[in-house]
């Protein structure tokens, strides 16, 4: 049982009594923080998974997990690098699947991200509102002819011209939008992303 109120006047109950100690305590608690949406430097399989599940996950995403150890992802000021790092951060999105998300769910995420599409893409297998570079953005995946194509709608990321993405076996384009912002469309190297890219670019409007 705790002695409630026993130490109300004790210096140990609050900062102020020992500057050196308090300074050390504050510095120790303020660990470095990874950038939003980027994988942590020492990323490991989730601790709470059972051994069997962890093993199967490791087999399934082995290549991706290895990529997390790549020093290029630890910090970056490069938009294309951050896009691929973000994709790797959500490896479950990069599956070839016939499952599609409900239209209502897709529309809701786009609305929350401040975007709308005049024509919805077919076969959206994954959608999520994600923190990315300090903003909440729509992240979705379209199942294209050869596999998943990732789309990030980036109203706060301005690029002057098209930017090529070529990282870790992914290729794609970051396309400037006429009304500001940009979109990133990225797939595996053998995927033709042009159809998805052009369809999204033509159909996208920011909710201004």
């Amino acid at each position: 049982m705790e002695h409630e109120g026993k130490n109300l006047r004790d210096d140990n109950a609050g900062p102020g009594g020992d500057d050196a100690f308090e300074s050390l305590l504050a510095r120790a608690l303020r660990i470095d923080v990874p950038a939003a949406g980027s994988p942590v430097a020492t990323r490991r399989p989730r601790r709470w998974l059972s051994i069997a599940v962890a093993a199967s996950v490791l087999i399934a995403v082995g290549v991706t997990v290895n990529n997390f150890y790549d020093a290029r992802y630890f910090s970056s000021d490069d938009l294309a690098t951050d896009v691929v790092a973000h994709m790797n951060h959500e490896p479950g999105s990069l599956r070839r699947t016939e499952s599609v998300v409900a239209t209502g769910e897709f529309d809701q995420v786009l609305q929350q991200a401040g975007a709308r599409l005049s024509v919805a893409p077919p076969a959206v297998s994954y959608v999520r509102l994600c923190p990315f570079r300090g903003h909440m953005v729509a992240h979705f995946v379209v199942q294209a002819s050869h596999g998943p194509v990732t789309v990030l709608l980036l109203p706060d990321e301005r690029v002057d011209t098209r930017v090529a993405v070529d990282e870790d076996g992914f290729i794609g384009t970051i396309v400037p939008m006429q009304d500001g912002g940009s979109i990133a469309v990225v797939g595996k190297a053998d995927e033709d992303i042009s159809e998805v890219r052009d369809q999204i670019a033509n159909a996208l409007r920011w909710r201004l």
């Binding site: 923080v33 942590v40 300090g134």
Partner: protein
């Protein structure tokens, strides 16, 4: 103002808020679970939940405390849902860059790691978040006196671990 503009304004407000608070929310979550991956997941999920409810937040000045409470709930939810293993200090140590210029920092982090959860959390809330004992008490559903006691014991144990002070009246009952 159209509904669409209102939505955009809300989104920008929340973006700004999450950008500003995310580092300390992450640190708080980290010290709750002592695991970077867990902290990342908890904060991401908490921010998503926060965004979904942000439009209903009546008092903007309470946004910080509100988000902290969401992180705390999300951590508890994760803890209940998953079978979290005991955190090993070796794993913990690997997640923190060694402070070569100040070995005392590593010692302090080790000592914080070893604190009971009941002591580590109020300490993190006070030092990282600037919470008062009363605010911690409200969040943790404790009396203010109990919070002060835990803060006292937390500091006393850290000082003891670091050889910085006498052992205070720290008896357990």
């Amino acid at each position: 103002m159209t509904a669409a503009k209102s939505e955009l304004e809300l989104r920008r407000e929340f973006n700004d808020l999450s950008l500003r608070l995310r580092p300390d929310l992450y640190r708080y979550a980290f010290w709750l679970g002592r695991d970077r991956q867990l902290a990342e997941d908890v904060v991401q999920e908490a921010l998503l939940r926060g965004w979904k409810a942000f439009g209903n937040l009546e008092d903007a000045s309470s946004a910080k405390a509100w988000l902290i409470s969401i992180v705390r709930r999300e951590f508890a939810r994760t803890f209940e849902r998953k079978r979290l293993e005991t955190v090993d200090f070796k794993d913990f140590e690997e997640q923190l860059s060694s402070a070569e210029d100040d070995p005392r920092l590593d010692e302090m982090r080790h000592a914080i790691f070893e604190l009971d959860d009941d002591y580590r959390e109020p300490l993190a809330l006070q030092v990282l978040m600037g919470h008062t004992a009363r605010e911690i008490a409200q969040l943790m559903e404790l009396s203010e006196g109990a919070v002060l006691t835990r803060l006292h014991r937390a500091r006393a144990r850290l000082k003891q671990a670091l050889g910085m002070a006498q052992v205070a009246d720290d008896s357990e009952h």
